[in-house]
């Protein structure tokens, strides 16, 4: 037996999934957080049962790609499989539409009335017993986020059965209205400050300033947390504890020996330099743990808060008009925001867009112009000391290309892009435990996914230099790298390693002693020229070979153009 979690978008299926399986799936407060089904297992009466978290859908008449996945999951189910229909209690009318469709298909269903706690302070009262009687299926009140009612829900899973409830499809809304009349009473509705803030966030006169303030604060807080963690925790730990240890190891291994060069790297002025030595145990650990991780923590703290609070769909509304110029609509800002952390989840979330055309444009401009947190952390660390103006040039260049590239693609790719159509969920004060857990999931993901690649990258750098491959390639690429981009020949090494990890690639620039102008150009080019291997893999999966080749060509050409242009216009 399998259990499928089915329901409208943003009703908390993934929260329930995490509760039931003990798994760690990312949950947020916007429709379309889950774009692919996720499997887990739970125990029911001692039996291991597979549980599947299905992307949200409003109807069994799918519109978006995520919805299609949901319907396909239903069609592929075995006949003993059971469905938990997760329902938003504060929005029973719309939820029941899907419930009735599930009933009509004669599926064995149990209804989980989620957000039960929220009904209380929104003045809604639901008689779940009466609802059970009318529909002929179990309806269990739950609050997935605090785990209330979960045990009860699990007990009722075995009671799931197809209901014997008939209705006329053409009059389904009348039917639903009649059901609601019987089971739901609505008393007063207070206009809370959260609601006021919610409304203000989507009115142009107040919404645009709010968006500006949110973005400014987000930037400030990320910088504050990131720099704070680096200055007060990460660097002191490395400098005071790790470096002395490594210095001893260095003496034992003997500088110049092969193992020494791989593990410790090159000594700079007779000492270990965590940024420049480029050994596995020195730079290989310092880059991911001391330079990048603090910014990963900072970025995901802020992003996770904004997601759970419910700001992202409102931001989507505010930027909708701009996004239309790029052939997209406002919701496409969500993949971009996720991409600022890591391009991989960003590109996956382009699935919330309906058409292939939109997904191609969004994925291409994301992979080209949206720098991930790891790259940004390194660039900020390297460039900020020369003055914020240079950092501004980098970001301005990327944003300009993002807009231009989108506009050009919109112009040349046939077809139209649909309009925004999305539910705006209420603002919710994030549940602290849930928020912390989510940040932790993402940090763990970074450590697991990134560090092996960083180490591999550092190892490869050593091998490539030792075998003189970088020097060799440098000769051939000199016309481009030196003439057009104005970088030293050896910078091609960073471009090679950038395919593996962009943070390591930026790190490789440090020993080259670049001028600030060269640093700016190298940073922009590294961000744009090609995706890292992890992003490359999802792009290939999402776009297919033909479109991937197109996207990659666009990246190479545009990075060359922008790098060349910057080389011409920035004074030396």
């Amino acid at each position: 037996m399998k259990i499928l979690l089915i329901g409208n978008p943003n009703v908390g299926k993934s929260v329930l999934f995490n509760r039931l399986t003990g798994a760690n799936v990312i949950v947020s407060n916007y429709p379309g957080t889950t774009v692919e089904f996720v499997k887990g297992t739970m125990k029911i009466a001692g039996r291991r049962t597979e549980l599947i978290d299905v992307p949200g859908t409003y109807t069994l008449d799918p519109v978006s790609r995520a919805e299609k996945i949901a319907v396909r999951m239903l069609e592929e189910r075995n006949h003993e499989d059971v469905i938990i229909n997760v329902v938003e209690s504060t929005n029973l009318e719309r939820s029941l539409n899907l419930t009735l469709q599930l009933i009509k298909r004669k599926l064995p269903v149990v209804v989980a009335l989620n957000f039960w706690d929220e009904t209380k302070h929104t003045g809604i009262s639901i008689d779940n017993k009466k609802l059970e009687k009318i529909l002929g299926i179990k309806c269990v009140p739950v609050c997935a986020i605090t785990a209330e009612g979960i045990k009860h829900l699990v007990e009722k899973i075995n009671d799931a059965k197809p209901a014997d409830y008939h209705y006329d499809e053409n009059k389904k809304w009348n039917e639903i209205a009649e059901i609601l009349d019987k089971v739901q009473t609505i008393t007063h509705r207070r206009y809370t400050w959260l609601k006021k803030l919610g409304d203000a966030s989507v009115r142009p006169l107040s919404g645009l300033p709010i968006a500006a303030v949110v973005m400014f604060l987000a930037f400030k807080i990320i910088r504050f947390i990131g720099e704070g963690l680096i200055t007060y925790i990460a660097e002191p730990l490395f400098l005071n504890l790790w470096t002395p240890l490594m210095t001893k190891l260095s003496a034992i291994l003997g500088p110049g020996k092969f193992l020494h060069d791989i593990l410790i790297g090159q000594l700079v002025g007779g000492k270990i330099d965590l940024e420049q030595s480029f050994g596995l145990l020195t730079t290989g650990l310092f880059v991911p743990l001391a330079a990048v991780l603090p910014y990963i923590v900072a970025f995901y703290t802020v992003l996770s808060f904004l997601e759970d609070f419910g700001y992202l769909p409102r931001l989507a509304v505010m930027v909708d008009t701009l996004m239309h110029r790029l052939g997209l609509h406002g919701l496409a800002i969500i993949p971009m925001m996720l991409g600022l952390g890591c391009n991989v989840p960003g590109i996956l979330s382009t699935r919330i867009l309906e058409t292939r055309r939109e997904r191609f444009i969004a994925a291409t401009i994301l992979a080209t112009c949206v720098p991930c947190a790891a790259l940004q952390a390194m660039v900020v660390g390297l460039v900020a000391r020369h003055g914020l103006v240079y950092l501004t040039i980098i970001y301005a260049a990327l944003i300009t290309v993002w807009i231009l590239l989108g506009t050009v693609l919109n112009h040349f790719i046939k077809g139209e892009s649909p309009e925004i159509f999305v539910e705006i969920p209420p603002y919710r004060i994030p549940y602290l435990k849930g928020l912390m857990k989510k940040i932790w999931i993402r940090i763990k993901w970074f450590i697991r996914e990134a560090i092996p690649f960083v180490l591999l990258g550092v190892l490869l750098v050593n091998l490539l230099y030792r075998l003189e491959i970088i020097q060799f390639v440098g000769k051939f690429t000199a016309p481009v790298v030196t003439r057009i981009l104005g970088l030293p020949r050896e910078a091609v090494g960073a471009l090679i390693i950038g395919f593996l990890r962009k943070d390591v690639a930026v790190g490789m620039l440090i020993p080259l002693g670049l001028t600030i102008k060269q640093l700016v150009i190298a940073s922009v080019v590294l961000a744009m020229y090609f995706p890292c291997i992890a992003t490359f893999a999802v792009l290939l999966k999402e776009l297919g070979v033909a479109d991937m080749i197109k996207a990659a060509t666009i990246m190479l050409l545009s990075s060359l153009a922008v790098g060349g242009l910057l080389n011409l216009i920035i004074p030396a």
């Binding site: 142009p204 509304v317 406002g330 649909p418 925004i420 705006i424």
Partner: protein
């Protein structure tokens, strides 16, 4: 669209029909018609935008940007184009 205030129209309902896109923020009304194809009607239907529904327009964005409507506990943002296909009857007696 103007509703003539002539006396010949005395038995006309005290309401006027305009598109959702032309409604003002804060106005309330009842959806009376959706001039879209099957696909669009279905899409709107799933999120509670359908004939007979009472809605409040929360806001609209500049330069023909998206329109936001509230009904019951949900808020939905829809593009200007879609909003201009939704006909709403404004209750003139209970104007706010």
């Amino acid at each position: 669209m103007n509703v003539p205030e002539s006396k010949a129209n005395a038995d006309a309902p005290a309401a006027k029909r305009i598109t959702l896109s032309k409604m003002q923020a804060g106005q309330k009304g009842k959806i009376v018609e959706i001039n879209g194809g099957y696909g669009m009607t279905q899409k709107l239907d799933a999120l509670g935008i359908r004939v007979g529904k009472n809605i409040t327009k929360v806001s609209e964005q500049w330069m023909r940007g998206p329109v936001i409507v509230r009904q019951n506990h949900t808020q939905v943002a829809l593009g200007f184009g879609m909003a201009s296909k939704v006909m709403v009857e404004i209750d003139l007696k209970n104007k706010i």
